[in-house]
């Protein structure tokens, strides 16, 4: 038997094993472990990237890499729980010019479709609603199976102006950049 053929057989066997393993664990991941998950963001002021995070959020996720058509995600963030990474900035976020949390307490993402990008990478398209503005957005994430669940680590870039976040004197994007990147690490369990 030639070496090449041996390799082919081994590869086929490997693929079969992988397929079996995938089918065996194809139960969808549906329960989000909030304690082991986080949602934050990176904003940029004067070209200085600054990290912040959201203290409270809730999510209904159904993620099954083998059945992307059926997958869905709904994430709701309590904007009053935002920590901008600096007390002065955090104190300002509730203001009318920023989140106006008195009128718009939540940010909400609702998925419309999932797409496989290859190599554990996926894209999810959906609608993000903040301050009454609903905007189509796309997030790319990596799904990593771990013991007892799957980790979804990804980013969602957005335009703050599209949601009227930071208006009035803050509208100038040469100081606070328009682009804000939401960064998430979710642990979803079966």
């Amino acid at each position: 038997m030639s070496l090449l053929r041996l390799c082919r057989i081994r590869m086929a066997a490997g693929a079969l094993l992988w397929l079996t393993a995938t089918l065996a664990m194809s139960a969808p991941y549906v329960r989000i472990n909030t304690a082991a998950s986080s949602i934050g963001f990176v904003s940029t002021q004067m070209n200085v990237p600054t990290s912040g995070h959201f203290g409270r959020f809730a999510a209904q996720v159904r993620f099954d890499p083998a059945a992307l058509v059926q997958d869905s995600a709904q994430v709701t963030i309590a904007l009053a729980s935002t920590d901008a990474g600096n007390a002065e900035a955090t104190g300002m976020l509730a203001d009318k010019d920023w989140f106006d949390t008195a009128h718009w307490p939540e940010a909400r993402f609702v998925s419309s479709s999932f797409r496989e990008l290859g190599g554990n990478r996926y894209a999810v398209a959906g609608t993000l609603t903040i301050k009454g503005h609903s905007v189509p957005v796309t997030s790319v994430f990596v799904a990593t199976p771990v013991v007892g669940g799957i980790r979804l680590d990804g980013q969602l870039p957005l335009s703050r102006k599209a949601f009227a976040i930071g208006v009035g004197q803050w509208a100038d994007t040469s100081v606070v950049a328009d682009r804000v990147v939401v960064v998430f690490h979710l642990l979803v369990q079966p």
Binding site: M46, N47, S51, N86, V176
Partner: protein
């Protein structure tokens, strides 16, 4: 009268200009309400401070390899000592102040991006309590700097208008 070299003069006056810009900027910006203008001032303050820090190494290297031009003959010993130690303290403050500024910026979770182009490494991990402490040290060192600059300037005025030995010319271009 023997003067400093043109290179030393250029460094001295450039750093004087930068320090006398960023120091008042620092005093003013802290108490401003948060606004885009305030963020701009903070950025400029840090850019200038980091520039001073970089120039410090050039200047210190020059100074270590070149003796300062002689002081006036017959200057009392205590005045020579005072001049020596004021200059030593000024050199020390010129490196400690930008360094503590950079450190506090890192500790408070803000990287320093020089001229908005070059992201400097964070010297310490974010630590709010450390950041607050460094902020006080930074301010305290600046109080020291203002006192030393006052002494420096008083000495210039004394030599220029009371002793009339025109020591200032050592730091001004012109013919010997």
């Amino acid at each position: 009268m023997k003067r400093y070299t043109r290179f030393a003069m250029a460094l001295h006056w450039l750093m004087a200009l930068l320090i006398l810009t960023t120091l008042p900027l620092g005093l003013v910006m802290e108490d401003l309400p948060l606004s885009p203008h305030k963020l701009q001032l903070y950025a400029w303050h840090k850019w200038i401070g980091i520039t001073v820090l970089a120039l410090w190494f050039v200047r210190a290297a020059w100074r270590m390899t070149h003796p300062a031009p002689a002081l006036s003959a017959g200057m009392p010993h205590w005045q020579q000592l005072a001049a020596e130690w004021t200059h030593r303290t000024l050199y020390l403050l010129m490196i400690l102040i930008p360094l503590t500024g950079w450190l506090m910026s890192s500790a408070l979770g803000f990287s320093v991006v020089w001229l908005g182009i070059w992201k400097l490494p964070d010297l310490v991990a974010p630590d709010h309590a450390l950041g607050e402490t460094l902020k006080h040290v930074h301010a305290w060192l600046n109080d020291g700097l203002m006192a030393m600059l006052g002494l420096h300037l008083a000495a210039v005025l004394q030599h220029e208008f009371i002793l009339k030995d025109h020591l200032l010319r050592r730091m001004l271009p012109g013919r010997d």
